[in-house]
């Protein structure tokens, strides 16, 4: 599949690059301190924090990957949103944000330092920093490969171009610049991909047309979940709920990349509303990112001249679902917009990771371990240089991934071990005042070991089982879900046992960090639609309705 770009398409892509860099140049004047640079001075308006909250995560994995999942698993892919992300985002806003924002911590690891101790913070900060560099490098690699495939662009050129632009705007304007661009990217992705859905649905005869052409398990999100073997995802309802509770709450409630977007709000009420309001566009994203996958599968049944692209092994290449639809439908002009939307999704993935990396490095690694009491100017420059270093390291990862595909898989598995137990630590930290630093640290290690053990003892789709292939699971997803809930449970058990055996924190040292020891918030707005909790209930009801509509 090769796309032909014309002058108008290049003009649109170039215009986007000019705007992205222009944003960096415009917000540069506002950046005076390290807090401005790394935390946007905690002064970003609510509508911007909310859209940035979902846009930071709207990377390539989501845009290309969800269309691929939609083609592979059908509408069940919506579980990642309607049972995974949305409940987690509501939970973060209602129950966890008071502690993140209220503690005045500048990062998620810094919260762990305040609540537990230095070693728990370091464990989280170092593994997280490594993960952000890795993710941003992978984003760069996938982008360059895709451009090579569909446009014939040179791999090196694509890597240098995307890295240079992201470095340019973050170096200039820091987090504010990244967040502003994330909002621009959000609209670009929605407006650039929605036409595929409109025209595709039009051609296949709407949702009814998709239902008529695809097998029933592809078009019902809940009906075939009684048993793992009955649906394309290979998971049952119990597994889905347990696994998604542990894994998606682990991501949305503890990953600094997204939580940072709420921590820069103007006040606590706005910080709490950030993920709750973000849940509204988030729950509609399946229509933009999953529907292309369903259309992709249904379209060849019509005389549309569309055929499913196949990979090198002759099997359907689901990752090409969205790019191939764009190539099929878009004329010069809109094609430029569609491609810019794809570029934007990769760049926002990179930028989100780099801005999380420079904050964590500066505040959680450099400041406590290297140079403690320097001037603010010093830390501002450390932040800026870390941005450059983060991008350079990402480029290294991109080439590493290009050279050794196994390293990529291996690192992804290692990171999943580290991530799986995280949510349990924050849950106990925020809601059980007896949890201690030693307990949290041991729990994180125990959870990680448990995840590794599950991975080593089970096999799914030919992966895992490196200790001994004792259990066989139906799908990679059920593998991941099992790992998530077992790691979560192991962390809970270990943290509780070790906490009870160690000395509790001094009374008074946990004020503002734990439920029950934090004064109730009183500065809440009056009208119900401005208060976090009623808003959260409204969002939850809307999400429930979506689940029922496609059940």
């Amino acid at each position: 599949m090769q796309l032909d770009l014309h002058a108008a398409d290049y003009a649109i892509i170039s215009l986007y690059f000019v705007f992205v860099l222009g944003v960096g140049w415009l917000v540069k004047r506002k950046v005076k301190t390290s807090n401005d640079y790394l935390m946007s001075g905690r002064s970003v308006p609510l509508w911007i924090t909310s859209l940035a909250f979902i846009s930071a995560n709207l990377g390539a994995q989501e845009v290309i990957g969800m269309a691929a999942s939609g083609a592979k698993y059908g509408i069940m892919t919506s579980h990642f949103y309607w049972i995974g992300a949305i409940p987690a985002m509501i939970f973060l806003g209602v129950l966890m944000m008071p502690f993140y924002y209220g503690s005045k911590a500048r990062s998620v690891p810094e919260y762990l330092k305040l609540r537990f101790d230095e070693k728990t913070r370091s464990l989280n900060a170092i593994s997280f920093a490594a993960m952000t560099v890795f993710s941003s490098g992978i984003s760069m690699y996938v982008l360059a490969r895709l451009l090579e495939l569909i446009l014939g662009w040179d791999f090196d050129l694509s890597v240098l171009l995307s890295a240079g632009i992201v470095m340019g705007y973050i170096f200039l304007g820091g987090l504010t610049s990244a967040v502003y661009n994330e909002v621009l990217q959000f609209f670009l992705i929605v407006l650039g991909i929605a036409p595929v859905v409109f025209v595709g649905l039009h051609e296949v005869g709407g949702w009814d047309g998709i239902v008529a052409k695809l097998s029933p398990p592809m078009t019902s999100s809940w009906r075939y979940m009684d048993e793992a073997g009955h649906n394309p995802m290979g998971v049952s309802t119990g597994m889905l709920v347990a696994g998604s509770l542990a894994s998606s709450f682990g991501y949305w409630c503890t990953d600094f990349l997204v939580v940072q977007r709420a921590m820069i709000a103007r006040n606590l009420a706005d910080a709490r509303k950030t993920p709750i309001l973000a849940a509204v566009p988030k729950m509609l994203m399946p229509f933009i990112v999953i529907f292309p996958g369903l259309i992709f599968m249904a379209l060849p049944h019509f005389s549309s001249g569309f055929s499913i692209p196949v990979g090198a092994d002759g099997a359907p290449d689901f990752n090409m679902a969205l790019p191939s639809l764009i190539a099929h439908y878009y004329p010069t002009g809109l094609l430029g917009v569609g491609l810019t939307a794809l570029l934007a999704s990769f760049m926002s993935g990179m930028a989100g990771n780099v801005t999380a990396f420079n904050t964590i490095w500066t505040f959680d690694i450099y400041q406590p371990y290297f140079v403690k009491n320097a001037s603010d100017r010093h830390y501002l420059w450390v932040g800026k240089l870390t941005t450059v270093a983060g991008i350079v390291l990402s480029i290294g990862v991109a080439y590493l991934a290009a050279g050794f595909n196994n390293i990529n898989d291996f690192l992804q598995v290692v990171f999943s071990f580290v991530n799986a137990p995280l949510f349990a630590t924050f849950l106990l930290g925020m809601f059980w005042k007896r949890a201690t630093g030693h307990g949290a640290f041991a729990g994180l290690l125990g959870g990680t070991l448990a995840a590794a053990a599950v991975h080593g003892l089970t096999v799914a789709e030919g992966k895992g089982g490196w200790i001994a292939p004792v259990f066989e699971l139906g799908s990679g997803l059920s593998h991941a879900f099992n790992m998530a809930w077992i790691a979560f449970s192991a962390n809970i058990v270990v943290t509780i046992l070790v906490s009870l055996a160690t000395k509790p924190a001094a009374p008074g040292s946990l004020t503002g960090l734990v439920y029950g020891l934090t004064p109730k918030v009183t500065d809440e707005p009056k009208a119900w639609y401005l208060r976090p909790v009623p808003l959260a209930i409204a969002v939850a009801v809307a999400c429930l309705i979506l689940n029922l509509m496609f059940a």
Partner: protein, 61 residues
Amino acid sequence: MEKLSDLRFIIGLFFAIVGALLVLLAFTATYGPGFGKNLNLYSGLVMLVFGIFMLWLNRRG
């Protein structure tokens, strides 16, 4: 300068330009059979209206 660095202005200007370009292309370029022309026209109109709306919010705000 304060109004120019407002995010609504940046987003509004971007989509107004891109939308206008697509509408222009819809009337000037040649299209084969299929949805090409209408895709440029309607997507362009939506982007143009969205861009102008953001610019209006920026002027008002």
